[in-house]
């Protein structure tokens, strides 16, 4: 059975639903109207840590138009929702029963006929709090005498992941120089323009739940909801239409739970929970990180030892952070040949909102530290930063700090592509006056999920139309279009004959989640396997019609053919066999991991690789930094759609400029002081570089490789390295605000 050649893989086509996207017709959850739909709202804690002395919701229940008011007293009964839940750790309550642990924690839920009635009900719920000591900084929270975020805990450290590779003390003893620095990243927010939104509805008998939600993880949401309601997973149906951006922030169960709980208490009526922008900031955030990195280096650039200690501020809710903090072990090290490496990665509770993945999860904070540090190391031995990287970046066949041998390594190619496009060796014109220009580069290495699974089902209809059933969420990254291109190529069909059925857990097979830039690699491979199986099914179905055994038939270009030149279209094969459809399923799973005590093993089924180089201009009078030119490069394996790949690279860089230069959630006593898009600024058109380029490093026989994050983590350190090149000061705290630059200049 031959494979089709001349596939549309490698061709830049628009998103399949481009027309819907430019006409506003795309069916975002926020645009759905389910008959009888109620407004769902959440009453939130105004305090970072407090005991609830009393809660009285009787007045709220009496307000006309209010359908349900849910407090902790209503939960944890024989049937219906449990009170406590949690993904990695059961540290959450649907609504707080006795204690609140962060500003924004749900305290009561309301469903009502109108926004006004819901608003009035929230205002009518009387809660009396007794304020308790709180802790906001992860390093302070990790100290033995810090206030405990949750009752009964000995320590706020909920996970301490370790990596131990080689003898670091011997390495430091052998070094010519040792550099130790601390780099910090603040709490930030994913800020998808589409807020979190979910609609939930129970069947009248209360046995089955349907949730429409803007989620990156429909199957994880299904599992979590089934757990809270103590029902079987197939009784929960999660439907995810295209979503308006995710960036990691929609990777766990968030608004689906209050919607489902309210719907449970609302007599079979559907309930929508749609977060306000301010609520977004207390619902999911980026981990604050403080990373101390100490490296020994020889005069020739040999790195002898590295010791890394990282405290991840996780907020009062772990959600998926135990997995993220463990996963961060390998993201903290950096893509370098280092004699010995020790890493301690601490996940720490604080009295702040819950942290989760933020595009470039954990790698952004880590790369900020280790790539700024690479320049500091180079300076310590008087070597050019690029020369040190050329000497010490990992190459194929090298052993990583996990003990695994790395293959398909393209760090050098990524960096060199950036340097060449930027014109690294060209003279740099200085504009004069208070303006100084400089150049910087950074390289990054990121793991994807060590354990994950994707299934894909293909269905060929009697009309010759192929439908892909996939759990991959379309959030603008274009994976549905990319999958359709792959399927069209594998079955030899025009793209117009391929449809995509996106996530609906009642219709599509399992997928772990749309995260960690895993989809084209994992779902793409599952699709290849499904396509191979479908070609076999086609050959089997055609065999009796062509009087030949299946293995003497080729399946390509939309037809099954014999060597003798007889050929049947797919539609003819189905018609001849009296078949209404043919289908086939493919799967791709990975299962690697590290020893929990030593961090040795296999850190990732494959490694994401990226680099960035830039030219910045710093105004020494104002401290203002402008990124004039930026080029990012990532290893892409084989590019499916170059137009969408360019958008992903651009998006990475522009998104990355937010945490690099602008984004920081500011807190006062645990309360967010800037929970709006005026005081919390994300990059606008005017913040983007004057010149921006993206490069995909391809490999002819390469696998499909996600590129949704790779050029993001290098942005902040590349800019900081360029700033040091320009004005000789080193910024070690994000964001690199004008104020910080000025302060460093004055120091």
């Amino acid at each position: 059975m031959s494979k089709h050649t001349g596939a549309p893989v490698g061709v830049g086509v628009p998103l399949l639903d481009a027309r819907e996207r430019v006409t506003g017709a795309i069916p975002f959850v926020g645009n759905m109207r389910v008959p009888g739909m109620l407004v769902g709202r959440v009453l939130r804690s105004p305090l970072a840590h407090a005991r609830i002395r009393s809660l009285d919701a009787s007045a709220a229940r009496a307000i006309p138009g209010v359908v349900a008011v849910v407090t902790a007293a209503d939960l944890g009964k024989e049937s219906g929702p449990m009170l406590q839940y949690g993904r990695n750790v059961k540290d959450q309550e649907v609504v707080a029963s006795r204690m609140v642990h962060y500003v924004g924690e749900p305290v009561a839920l309301v469903s009502a006929e109108t926004e006004e009635a819901a608003e009035a009900a929230l205002a009518a719920i009387a809660v009396d709090y007794e304020e308790l000591p709180a802790v906001y900084d992860a390093q302070e929270a990790a100290l033995p005498d810090a206030p405990k975020v949750h009752e009964g805990m000995d320590s706020n450290v909920f996970v301490h992941a370790k990596l131990r590779h080689g003898d670091v003390e011997a390495g430091f003893a052998a070094a010519d120089a040792i550099v130790e620095e601390t780099y910090t990243s603040p709490v930030a927010q994913q800020t998808s323009l589409e807020p979190h939104v979910a609609i939930a509805q129970w069947t009248p008998d209360g046995t089955a739940l349907t949730v429409w939600t803007a989620s990156q993880a429909p199957f994880a949401v299904r599992t979590a909801l089934a757990g809270v309601f103590r029902i079987k997973e197939p009784s929960v149906r999660v439907v995810v239409p295209p979503i308006g951006g995710g960036y990691g922030g929609k990777g766990g169960m968030r608004v689906e739970l209050p919607a489902a709980v309210l719907a449970w208490f609302s007599g079979g009526r559907p309930v929508r929970v749609l977060l306000s922008r301010a609520e977004e900031f207390v619902t999911v955030t980026k981990h604050a990180a403080s990373i101390t990195i100490r490296t020994g280096i020889m005069r020739d650039g040999t790195l002898t030892a590295r010791q890394i200690t990282c405290h991840w501020g996780t907020g009062a809710v772990v959600e998926n952070s135990a997995a993220l903090v463990r996963g961060a072990l390998v993201r903290l090290v950096g893509p370098y040949r280092i004699g010995a490496v020790h890493v301690d990665s601490y996940g720490v509770y604080t009295n702040l909102p819950s942290a989760g993945a933020y595009r470039g999860a954990m790698s952004s904070q880590a790369t900020w530290a280790y790539e700024s540090h690479t320049d500091a190391l180079a300076r310590a031995i008087g070597m050019a930063p690029v020369a040190l990287r050329r000497r010490s970046l990992i190459r194929s066949g090298d052993t990583f700090a996990t003990g695994e041998t790395l293959h398909e390594v393209y760090f050098h190619e990524c960096m060199e592509a950036c340097l060449e496009r930027l014109g690294w060796d060209e003279p740099l014109a200085q504009p004069g006056g208070s303006l100084r220009r400089g150049r910087g580069v950074a390289v990054m290495m990121k793991s994807t999920n060590p354990v994950s699974r994707s299934e894909c089902r293909l269905e060929l209809g009697a009309d010759g139309v192929l439908t892909i059933f996939t759990g991959t969420v379309e959030m603008g990254q274009g994976t549905h279009t990319a999958l359709a291109q792959v399927a069209a190529g594998e079955l030899g069909l025009p793209l117009e004959r391929v449809r995509v059925q996106g996530p609906d857990t009642a219709l599509v097979p399992f997928d772990t989640a749309t995260n960690a830039s895993r989809s084209v690699g994992m779902m793409g491979t599952a699709l290849l396997n499904a396509a191979a199986a479908l070609r076999e099914r086609l050959a089997e179905a055609a065999a009796p019609l062509l009087d030949l055994p299946p293995d003497q038939l080729s399946v390509a270009d939309g037809a099954v053919a014999s060597a003798g030149g007889r050929s049947l279209t797919y539609a003819e094969v189905l018609a001849g066999g009296g078949l209404s459809r043919l289908d086939a399923t493919g799967e791709h799973a990975t299962n690697v991991g590290l020893d929990p005590q030593t961090g040795q093993g296999v850190g990732s089924p494959h490694w994401h690789q990226g680099a960035g180089a830039c030219e910045v201009e710093v105004d020494t009078e104002t401290g203002k930094v402008r990124v004039l030119r930026y080029v990012g490069a990532s290893f892409a394996g084989r590019v499916i759609n170059p137009d969408l790949a360019r958008l992903q690279n651009d998006g990475n860089v522009i998104y990355g400029m937010g945490p690099a230069l602008l984004e920081e959630m500011v807190f006062d006593a645990g309360r967010v002081m800037n929970p709006n898009l005026s005081d919390y600024q994300i990059p606008s058109l005017k913040d983007t570089p004057d010149w921006l380029e993206g490069v995909c490093i391809e490999h002819e026989e390469g696998e499909f490789h996600g590129i949704g994050e790779m050029t993001l983590p290098p942005v902040a350190p590349a800019i900081a390295n360029a700033i040091e090149d320009a004005i000789g000061v080193r910024v070690r705290a994000l964001p690199i605000s004008a104020e910080r630059v000025l302060r460093e200049l004055d120091a």
Binding site: V22, G24, A25, L193, E194, S276, M475, S684, L685
Partner: protein, 153 residues
């Protein structure tokens, strides 16, 4: 109170409070999904509509202010299944969106720009569109799309 206004060429008289937000009326009463709330304070441009041809944040326009005016949302640029507007087509041709939550706002802001200034410079384009945020970072393609419609000479 009864408030009269024209939306996408159709005259409406709606029962609405004068302090109701135009955005909510367009979405909830008229069922238009193009204008979208991103920030609620006029900082992101996702709710951009044209009011007598000029781009405004519909989250900041109250019904009392909209009374008697002509509103165009992205739904008013092309008939269902009909030809797309030049700006919409350019956005597709230049792949000027990813998640597209912001796209109707950009399309309308660009439409107003090209109406007022058929030959905008790159700086004009940047200035006109900088009030619209695209978190996916499709800015380069957006500028290219709008620049492609620049009238020559």
């Amino acid at each position: 109170m009864k408030i009269a206004l024209t939306v996408n060429g159709t005259a409406h008289t709606l029962e609405a409070a004068p302090d109701a937000r135009l955005l909510d009326v367009l979405r909830e009463y008229l069922g238009l999904g193009g204008p979208r709330e991103g920030c609620g304070i006029g900082a992101c441009g996702a709710c951009t509509v044209l009011l007598d041809g000029a781009p405004v944040s519909s989250c900041l326009v109250l019904m009392g202010q909209a009374e008697g005016h002509t509103i165009t949302t992205v739904e008013g640029l092309a008939k269902p299944k009909g030809a797309l507007s030049a700006v919409q087509q350019a956005f597709i041709d230049h792949r000027a969106f990813q998640c597209s939550y912001c796209t109707p706002g950009f399309v309308l802001a660009a439409t107003a720009l090209l109406e007022a200034n058929p030959a905008p410079s790159d700086d004009d384009i940047t200035e006109a569109l900088t009030g619209n945020l695209c978190r996916c970072g499709s800015y380069r393609n957006i500028v290219e799309a709008v620049a492609s419609l620049r009238r020559q000479g």
